[in-house]
Each structure stands twice: as C-alpha cells, then as structure tokens.
C-alpha cells in the first residue's frame, strides 16, 4: 500500500517533468493523501521517541508532500488557480501536522525542506492569482512570521513578493496584528508603510551579505519612496548603504543626483558621472546638470557648456531629445544674460537664448513649458508683442491652470502701459484661483491700481491681502497649501512695505509710519524699510535725514539699487561739486540693474547739469524707452 503510493508519486513527477500536466494530475488524484499524511504523522511521533535521522520515513514524507505540491503546480498550469491554492495549503497544513514541534533541524538541507520552501512561496501567489487577496495577505504573513526553516534566499524572495503585492496590487490590506506591544516597535499602518519596511529590510540583508543582491528591490524601493513626496533623503541614505560594486558607480551617482535636494551636491555628483573617464556623453546627466545650472546665474555659464555637449550628442543619437537640449541651452544663456556685467555681452547672450529657444520650439511646438520660457525671454528682450502672443498661447494651452502664466500676461500688459487690461487679466486669474492662493495676484493688483493712480482702490486691495495673510497665519500648519504657490507666498513684510510706500506717496505720514512699524516688527533692520523711511523724509523736505537713512540702508546692503538712485538724485540737486558723486552712484546702480528707468532719468539730469548734452539726450532717451516697456514687477 505504502510502496504503491510512493510509486504513484514518482510516476506523477515524471509525467509532470515531461510536461504532461493533465496526466500527472490524474496520477496525483489517485493517491490517498490524507491517509498518507496520517501515516507519516504516526511515524514522526514514533521517531520522536525512537531512532534518529532515519532516511526511510523522511523520504516517504518528501514524496507525499512533493506529490501534493506537484498536484498544485499542475492545477496552476491548467488554470485552476483556486483548486491549486487549496491544494497548496494542504502541503503546509500537512507539514504542521507531521511536525507539530517544527521541522527538525536534520531536515533543513534535504529535499523535503526544498518542497516546503517552494510551497510556502507559492501559496500566497496562488491566492493572489485567484483574486483571494485576504488569503494572499495572511499566507504571506504566515510564511514570514512562522518558523519554516526557510533559507535566507527563500525568505528574501517571499519578502520581495509580498512587498510587490503590497505596492502594486491595489488591495487595501489591514495592518499586521501585533501580539506583543513592545515599546518603540515600528508597526506599519498601511500597504505602503509595510512594503517600504520590507524593502528596507531586504536592502539591509543585501548589505550584510545575508541574501544575494536582487536589482528589483532597489527599484521597487525607489518607486515606493518617490510616491511619498519629499522622501528623497531616505532613498539617498538607502543607496549609500549599498555595498560598492553592486550598482554601477555612474548609475549610482546619477540616481543620487536625481534624489538630491541640494543643487550643489547634485551638480557635484553629476560632474563625477560626466567625467571624461566615466560617461561623458550620458544625455540624462547632461540635461540634468544643465538644468540645475540654469537655475543659478553664476552657474549658468557652466550650464551652457553642458547644454552644448547635449546638443552635440543629439546629432548622433537621441534625436528625439534635441528640442529639450536646445531648450535648456536657451535657459542657461538667458540666466547668464541676467548676471552679465557688460552691455554687449548681455545682448549677445540674450540673442543666443532667443535663438536656442526658437529652434527648440520649432521642434516641439506643443510644449507649453517651452512656450512660457520663450515668452519670458522675449519679454526680457523687450520684444513685448511676441511675448504677449506667446503668453496668451500659454494660457490657452494650459487652460489657465498655471498662476505664472496669468502673472506673465498681466506683467507684459503692464509693460505696455495697458494697466487697465492688466487689471482685467489679474481679476480673471483671481477667479481661477482658490482664495488661499490669491496672495501674489492681489499684490499685483494693488500695484496695478497704484500705477493707475487709483490709490484708494489699491489700499483696499492691500487690506484684502493683509486679511488673507492673517488667515493663513492662523491656520498655518493645519492646511497645507499645494504646489504652485508654496514658493511664491506673499510675505507680510512685503505688504506692509508696499503699503507704507503708498501712504507716503499720498503724504499720509502717520499711516506710513504705522506700516513701517509693522514691517519692522517682522524684519527689524532692512535696506528696504530704511529706503521707504528715507523717501518719507525726502518727501517731507527733511533732506539731510533722508540722505542719512539712505546711506544707512546702503551700509546694510551695499548693492541696494533704489538707495543708490535716491542718493544720486539728492546729490545731483546739490550743485556742481557733488555731481561726480551723483554720477558714480547712478552708474553703479545701472551696472547692477541696467534696465532701471529712474537711474537713467537721474543720470540724464546729471549729464545735463554737467553740460554733456549728447550724453544727457542718450540717457533721457533710454529712460523714456524703458518707461514704455517697464513691467510693474520684474518678469
């Protein structure tokens, strides 16, 4: 009887291995499995009292268990997944029955253990395939939390599979029950937390050499942590712990750069990756490096080099990326132009920027980001008609979803001195914006109203803005504002500052003082506040005090342009001996801000007083040209 069963099991296996799944299944179905298990159970109990490590019963147990297991596999291959799962469960139940005190150590290296390990691995997969997700979860947990004597590799595989299940199945899983409430124990509360925990444990196993490196784990972890915003530092830490040589170093630097929040560090990593002995023409690294550089005026020159390398690279391959290479090249040129100190250099860089961006948009006419960037570049170049056309196109393409698009359009209109239309645009933008995010638009609106000399309306808008800021301050922390505005939140200080300026222009000194006081409460000492204070003195005719205050503001911040201009203006009124001082101050201001209209205007005065009439004409002309194209805030 017993021998016959073993023979059947053997035949079944042979059929299975030949691929005759149906035949194998027939054979396996002929075995009386419960009886076999019962017999094994009694042998195992006998053995506990009697002889040790006898190969006979062990082999029998193996054959029977393997038979059930292969029956499972056959059913799985015949797409009878539910039956397969039930059958597979029997393997594990049988093991628990046969070895109620756990699997003896003597069996660990045997074929019996192999079968058990396979079954432990397979069962949850079958449940998942069958759509019985709760069973899948509990059998995963049973696999991981019960002592099956699994080797490290097998355990790691199950952990990986479970993590994958948790991450991607979309099933909402109840958190694991903890029997013991040990203090400071980490208990995952949902799928994502549990998956990340398992993946981190796996990463640690790899670095301790307890399991063989599996490249999928780090990718799953990358994905999982990317889903949780702002968790790049955790990922970076995990990657740094990986033993050297497992991930190719260039790949590692690249990935670290991608998850690095600090520009300088990311750039350092990319420089390593792009070193001539590594992968100097890796397009992703080149693009990323150029993009990072384009965000900082002083790095922009480096950025143009990277971008140029990327563009050259595109001649041979990656032709689909040519547009983006040109785009980032244009951005770098544009940024470089802003910090450039010479006029000639600046206009050259600006034309380069325009050229690159125009070429890029020929390749990617539907890229709305590109449309926006080109609009900005035209605006900087004071080609307001083109800028206007593109900024409208951007709003259409994005359906008005981007605040920055609305703002740009309003600013371009303001530069064309079309304040009323700009205000209409701003109001339209306010309609499309939730209350909470309206700050920057309200500020713009107030400025536009001042430009139209509608001071009372402007004060009203400032009031709204202050109310908004107060509300935001109160609920700060409880409500998290989303993406778009976070970097562009209007600060209270700026509002008091603007309001003080407004009151001082209306000669309402007291109100202006109050506003300045409020501003000082936030930032005690700043060049801006001092400058406004100075203008108040100046308007009241207290010129000496005004001058002193302006000088103070310059002492605080040596490159503060408005104070330089104001000092220059005061000096030019003090007769011939003071003209050189005035001229120095104003030239200095123009070096810092070449498109500052007021600086040109006062410089014109100085030239005129000094008798240099043609210079004066040039300066006045510059001032008047700028006046016609000056936006209300910088683009």
């Amino acid at each position: 009887m017993k021998k016959q069963q073993e023979a059947q099991a053997l035949i079944g296996r042979l059929e299975y291995q030949r691929g005759n799944v149906e035949a194998a299944l027939k054979v396996f179905e002929g075995i009386d499995i419960p009886a076999a298990i019962e017999r094994l159970q009694s042998i195992s109990n006998d053995k506990k009292s009697g002889s040790h490590s006898e190969s006979g019963p062990q082999q029998g147990a193996n054959l029977v268990l393997e038979a059930i297991y292969l029956k499972t596999k056959s059913l799985q291959k015949l797409n009878r997944v539910n039956d397969a799962a039930e059958e597979c469960k029997k393997v594990l139940d049988a093991v628990e029955k046969i070895f109620p005190h756990g699997i003896p150590d003597a069996f660990v290296e045997t074929k019996l253990q192999e079968t058990i390990s396979r079954a432990v691995q397979l069962l949850p997969q079958l449940w998942a395939e069958a759509g019985c997700y709760q069973e899948a979860v509990s059998s995963y947990r049973r696999a991981l939390l019960t002592q099956w004597n699994l080797d490290n590799e097998c355990c790691a595989r199950i952990q990986t599979n479970f993590a994958v299940f948790l991450l991607y199945s979309g099933v909402q899983v109840d958190p694991p029950a903890t029997s013991t409430q040990i203090d400071r124990t980490y208990v995952p509360k949902n799928n994502l937390e549990e998956a990340i925990l398992l993946l981190m444990i796996l990463m640690r196993k790899f670095s301790l050499g307890k399991a063989k490196w599996d490249p999928t784990v780090v990718e799953h972890l990358t994905f999982a942590l990317s889903i949780c915003s702002l968790q790049s530092t955790v990922l970076a830490k995990q990657l740094e712990e990986v033993i050297p040589g497992v991930i190719h170093r260039v790949q590692l630097w690249k990935t670290l750069a991608l998850c690095c929040n600090q520009r300088a560090t990311a750039l350092d990593l990319l420089k390593k990756a792009l070193h001539k002995h590594e992968k100097p023409d890796d397009i992703t690294s080149l693009l990323l490096a150029a993009k990072l550089c384009s965000e900082d005026g002083f790095l922009a020159a480096q950025g143009t080099e990277y971008a140029q390398r990327a563009v050259d690279d595109c001649k041979n391959r990656n032709q689909d990326l040519k547009g983006v290479c040109l785009r980032v090249s244009g951005l770098c040129y544009g940024k470089q132009a802003i910090v450039s100190s010479s006029d000639y250099e600046r206009s050259r860089l600006q034309s380069e920027a325009l050229k690159s961006l125009e070429e890029a948009i020929d390749l990617e006419p539907d890229n709305s980001d590109l449309v926006f960037e080109l609009a900005i570049q035209y605006a900087m170049h004071r080609d307001l008609n083109n800028a206007l056309r593109l900024s409208k196109q951007y709003i259409d393409a994005t359906g008005g979803s981007m605040l920055k698009g609305w703002r740009l359009l309003a600013l371009i209109l303001s530069a064309q001195q079309r304040f009323q239309e700009a205000e209409v645009v701003t109001s339209a933008a306010l309609d499309e914006t939730a209350k909470w995010d309206q700050g920057p638009l309200l500020r713009l609106k107030a400025k536009l109203r001042i430009a139209q000399s509608r001071h009372m309306d402007a004060i009203e808008t400032y009031r709204q803005l202050l109310a908004l800021i107060q509300a935001q301050k109160k609920s700060y922390g409880s409500v998290q504002t989303t993406n778009q505005v976070e970097d562009d939140r209007v600060n209270e200080y700026e509002v008091w500052q603007g309001l003080a300026n407004l009151y001082s222009s209306l000669s309402r000194w007291k109100d202006a003082e109050i506003c300045l006081e409020k501003a000082r409460e936030i930032i005690e000492c700043s060049s801006e506040t001092l400058h406004v204070e100075g203008t108040i003195y100046q308007r009241r005719g207290e010129i000496d005090e005004a001058l002193a205050t302006y000088v103070n503001s310059l002492l605080l911040e040596a490159s503060y342009v408005p104070s330089k201009i104001s000092i220059g203006a005061i000096m030019s009124d003090r007769g011939l001996p003071m003209l050189p001082v005035a001229r120095t101050m104003l030239s200095d201001a123009l070096r810092l801000e070449p498109t500052n209209r007021m600086a040109w205007l006062h410089l014109g005065h100085v030239h005129k007083l000094d008798g240099r009439l043609s210079d004066a004409i040039d300066s006045f002309q510059a001032a008047s040209m700028l006046e016609e194209s000056d936006p209300i805030e910088s683009f």
Binding site: R13, L14, K73, V164, Y168, G170, K189, L258
Partner: protein
C-alpha cells in the same frame, strides 16, 4: 458582521441600480443589453458588461458630451450621488475616459460643465471621507524593531537621536471646491484618480486600458526609443529613428495633440495606477495581456516626457518602473522544480 452589512447594502442598491439602468436606457441611443437589464446583480452588470461600457464610452467621446445639460453626465452624477458603493464604482469605471476627454478639451474652450460636475462630485466625496485631512505615511526606520525584523543592539540614546519615523505626505489636505477653478483642476482630477486607484482591484480591464491609452496621449512623447531601456543599442536606435522619420511623422503629429501639463499631483496617482497595471495584475491571464503591453507603452511615453521636462522626481519614479519591466522579462520562477535529467527518489 461585514458580510451581513454587505448584503443589506446589496439589496438596498438593487433598486437604485434598477432605476439607474432604466434612466440609462432613455439616454443611450441603442438599448441597454438584456444581460444588464435582466441581471440579478444589476450594479455589477453595469460595472462589468463590455457592450454597455463601449456604448457609454462612445457617448462620452461625442463632441458635445461634456456640456452642462448632457444627459449622460447627469446620469453619472446622479448615480454617484446614490452613495451606494457598487454604483459609485460604475461611475469611477468611466473616470479614465471622462478625465481624458475633459482634459483634451480644455484648450478648445468647449462647455464642459457636465464633466466638471461629475469630477467635483467625486472630489467632494473624497474630501468628506478624508475629512479634509492629508494622507501621510511614516517611513520605517530600521533602528526600531518591527514584526519583520529584530535588532540586536537597541540604540542607547533613544530620545535625542533622530530615530523618529520619517513622516511623508502622500496626498495633501483637501479643501472643499464649489467649482473647478483652473489652478485647482489638476488637483481635483488627481484626487479623483487617487480614489480610482484605491478601487482599482474592482475595475474591469477595459477601464484600466482606457486609462493607459490616455496616459500615452497626455505624455505627448514617443516612448518607442526606450523599449530596451536601460540598455541603449545605438545602432538599433538609429534605425528606429530613421523608420520614424520616414513613416511616422504624421502619426507623431497626431499623437502629440493631447499633450497636457503633468504636475506631480496628477503624476503621482497616474504612476500608482500604471504601476498596478504592470506589476499588480496576473499576467498569465489572457485578458490582461493587452493591458500589460499598453501600460508598458504608457510608461515609456511618460519616461520620454519626464526627460523632456527634465523632471528629476518623475525621471526617478518612471525610470524605476521601466527597469522593473525589463527585469520582469527575465525573472525566474522559483516555485518550479529544477530541470534535471536525473531521477531522484
């Protein structure tokens, strides 16, 4: 307890579903398939019947489908407002098409109030069920033990060191929205997609397939270059590029039509859904083959897009999905017996 509750809600939703089917039959030009109208479980039939789904999808894609007086939008809105779980699933099933058609029509300035009403209903439902609170997770810190691991040397300084778990926001808090303001549009759709993802197990394959197809349109980039990612074969690539230049120019133009901005608030749920479609489904199932392939295609397109946007976060997340697709092809089944010619006893 839960089964009993389900039964109650089932019998409850039965009449609602019947009503829904009746009103649907007045909207659709062709009649509701008899398999649905005479089904014992009408809600599930509404969700799963392929013929009905294609009728509704066809309707949603009609040029005037999104207007405020559109009957089908009205129907979706009312059906969602029955507050019956299984009927809400029916509405979510059409979310991919609805969101896809809606977003592609934004630049055309067509009336879209009908679509918006449905989207807002879903958003409001989520806002209420989350109570406006953000969804956060605490990332594990292995210096604390957990159910799955022990630590041999617990850290001594338990208070001062940074061993607190790292909190991370998965989805920020929600404020109620009465209308779809343009700047909130992406967030509202993103939240609806988050809800869709949480019910994705119950969604029919066709619905996920629709979603993947729209992702390709939204990305607006050709992902074919990344077929063998991360291995670049330059020669092959060049050949492919030549092919594209010859034959594909028109196709590419067509493809780029629906390109939209993909801020992270939409990208994140999109990636979770696509992750499910490649890693979380049973690939052996014949029905899922198409879905898997289309999802892979969508991921490649989004990778191309991430590179075009030079968006580090997206490059990282989409790139890891791309690599996982690659590994998937070469994975070994460890539950199989090792191949051997020797007969063991």
């Amino acid at each position: 307890m839960s089964t009993e509750q389900q039964r109650v809600s089932w019998s409850d939703s039965f009449s609602d579903a019947q009503t829904a089917i009746q009103s649907l039959s007045t909207i659709l030009s062709s009649s509701v398939p008899p398999t649905v109208s005479s089904s014992d479980s009408p809600a599930s039939a509404l969700l799963n019947d392929p013929q009905l789904a294609s009728q509704i999808s066809h309707h949603l894609r009609q040029p005037d489908s999104g207007s405020g007086d559109n009957q089908l939008c009205r129907w979706l809105y009312d059906t969602f407002h029955t507050s019956k779980h299984d009927l809400q699933l029916v509405v979510l099933r059409f979310l991919p098409i609805l969101a896809g058609v809606y977003l592609s029509r934004i630049p055309l300035r067509k009336p879209l109030a009908g679509f918006e009403a449905v989207l807002l209903a879903i958003y409001a439902h989520e806002t209420a069920s989350r109570n406006g609170q953000p969804i956060t997770v605490n990332i594990a810190d292995l210096s604390h033990p957990s159910v799955y691991h022990e630590i041999k040397h617990p850290p001594y300084k338990t208070t001062a060191t940074s061993t607190e778990p790292n909190p991370a926001v998965i989805s920020p808090g929600l404020e109620p929205q009465g209308t779809i303001r343009a700047t909130k549009r992406a967030r509202i759709i993103g939240v609806a997609l988050e809800l869709y993802y949480s019910k994705i197990v119950e969604m029919p394959v066709q619905s996920k397939l629709d979603f993947c197809e729209f992702c390709i349109v939204w990305a607006g980039e050709d992902g074919e270059f990344y077929k063998d990612y991360p291995d670049y074969d330059d020669n092959k690539r060049r050949e492919e590029e030549d092919d594209h230049i010859e034959g594909g120019e028109k196709k590419m133009k067509e493809k780029k039509e629906g390109r939209i901005l993909l801020p992270w608030e939409m990208m994140q749920p999109i990636l979770r859904i696509l992750g499910h479609c490649v890693m979380g489904i049973n690939k052996n199932d014949e029905k899922n083959k198409d879905l898997h392939e289309t999802a892979c295609c969508a991921i490649r397109s989004l990778y191309a897009r991430a590179l075009h946007d030079i968006n580090p976060k997206a490059i990282l997340a989409v790139g890891s999905l791309l690599k996982l697709i690659k590994y998937q092809k070469t994975c070994v089944d460890h539950t199989e017996l090792p191949h051997t010619k020797v007969i063991h006893l």
